[in-house]
Subunit: 373 residues, 2 copies
Amino acid sequence: MALFSYMKDFIHVYSNNFCGAKHAFTLRSGPKSGTIGQPFENDPSLTMTSIKDVALHAGVSVATVSRALGNGPVSAALRERVEAAIAATGYHPNLSARRLRSQHTRTVGLVVSDIRNPFFTAVSRAVEEAAYQADMRVILCNTDENPEREALYLRLMQEERVSGMIYAPTSTMSNRLPANGFGFPTVLIDRCPEDCSYDAVVLDNHEAASQLVQHLLAQGYRHIGGLFGNTSTTGAQRHAGFAETLAAAGLPAPTRFIAPRTEAAESATRDWLVSGQHPQALLASNGQILAGMVRALRNLRTQIPHELAVVGFDNEPWTELVGPGLTVIEQPVDEIGQTAMDLLFERMKTPTRPARRIVLQGRCIVRGSSITR
Amino acid sequence: MALFSYMKDFIHVYSNNFCGAKHAFTLRSGPKSGTIGQPFENDPSLTMTSIKDVALHAGVSVATVSRALGNGPVSAALRERVEAAIAATGYHPNLSARRLRSQHTRTVGLVVSDIRNPFFTAVSRAVEEAAYQADMRVILCNTDENPEREALYLRLMQEERVSGMIYAPTSTMSNRLPANGFGFPTVLIDRCPEDCSYDAVVLDNHEAASQLVQHLLAQGYRHIGGLFGNTSTTGAQRHAGFAETLAAAGLPAPTRFIAPRTEAAESATRDWLVSGQHPQALLASNGQILAGMVRALRNLRTQIPHELAVVGFDNEPWTELVGPGLTVIEQPVDEIGQTAMDLLFERMKTPTRPARRIVLQGRCIVRGSSITR
DNA sequence: AGCGTGATTGTAATCGTTTTCACTAGAGGT
DNA sequence: ACCTCTAGTGAAAACGATTACAATCACGCT
């Protein structure tokens, strides 16, 4: 039987030597766990009633209790005794044991790059809702666009043996995605290299940026600038749509790439505007950048849209509240989350299915920030 | 030894018959898992290399591998062989097994009521950061102010055997908190009944609301109304501060309690304003309500602050961008998250310590929305 | 030579479940 | 009466790690 145990190696389908072994040691001796001390030594929280206690209490075997918990065949009389025993002992099944034995975790990992970005919280909610419906749990990991944390969380996903993962890789990682997967079904969201072999659900970034530019052109703007995030493929694709549409109109496409954070966007906008010749309209490649841009404009007392038109991505609730309202691309956040989960489930059912890339369209919401009257 | 196993029952300190046994069955046959089918049957994701494979590959015992992974005594030569074997096999430790055996999960549960509320995402980030530093994981659960989901997630915390929990209870639950705890260290955040026996870190809601009212009074406003959330103790406490401060000034305190959602706040505000006699100033008890209020005002073309002054809670990034800027109470979100984790760690170390309630002060940021010039 | 001592290593028990397997009892067919 | 079948039950073997315990070995001391 030992032989059989080792044979598994030859038949298991997934490669999982993605995260090198070096990392395997930090779990117990984490980078800074020393600073906290060891508050978890004789953690009594796990010393709880087990299925044995219930069995003893009900006068049946543990197998019967287990079957009563699940949907196994148990006579009505015993089932009732078991339920009473459970109530009496205050028993709660131990998920670690359950997962270990049953070999599936009913857990999906959700790895996002910035939980404070409303786009990701909206998607998270949709994912969590879908997981709830399917009776699965989600582990939410926030990488903060930090490759070190990203690597740690990716490793965590392996160690948790998640059933699947929904993942928004930073651009650093985008190029390094393991060619034959992580060892479990994975769906990329929001960001995805052009040629990638993963399931993915993304916005039609090229088209969406193009829409914004076309709208500005239609409004008569000719000097149009753009501020784009530099940590994701998304920023690059939006820039492509922006630049190509302007090029097609025979216009230049002044561009700055920045960290996708409010502060960076604010100072970049300020620098740009005080630098003398500034554009008539500015495009922001996501909600954070848009917020920074508006803040800079506000501090400079620049009138929107009369002195400068503004358009951007992400229809966050506040965008219709500021100034004359902001013209934005609305992303179908719920649909993105749901579709990602659907894709995940499909891949679980059919692991060999070729990768599918679902491209959703954004909706352009025109408000006052881009309309000269 | 079987005897010993059952003896645990008599010595374990926590009561855990909080969630009745009825619920214990829904794990495998969740409410709607049937609609999804059973995509997890022969989920091969867990068929991975185990510590045995590594041991075989390195020519050592599993115990040695385990010791090499941790900090046990292993000779340099063997340690090297083990590391090589780990790299060669692409081994990742199985957290379920590890947790089951070692009896602690290094996991904290974070149960919040609305992940889309920037207050909670900010706190989440702080909690997650602290957990990361302490080499722990966090399970984020979003109850959406829904008692059913809340019960489910509370049960999940038990089943996961979390090391601790940080928890923002809905008002429904606030009164039903188990008197002797959940079975693991728990810290309440944001919401906490006055007399509760749990560790907690909350804002000084009474004082904060009072500050806002005093500011309005100082600005000469006399007819001041308030919109408060009805799902949490927080809303009630802020209302108390609001009402009492007005009463002290001999003024009435017209109030409406609503669901703490943007839409509800919008329609409540609209109704109030079109109802004829409306106040000169309005207070919103959280960021969502504030947003709804501003949206309603915008649609009614009501000038802030000339026709109506506005103040509220939560210094979200957009509040300084809309209209003349919104006067708000800023909550120390990072400090709340960190303090909650500190409290959790302390309680883990000293389970018998009396409950501590930490009250943090908000900061009043005065902007144009409450200043008549 | 004999013997404690300390450092490494392996063997085996254990954590709390699920699941295979064998067994029983009763129903029903001949 | 005998055989077959099925449903209900318990005993015991996993799952993959950690850890108590025992065994080995080299070493220094008497």
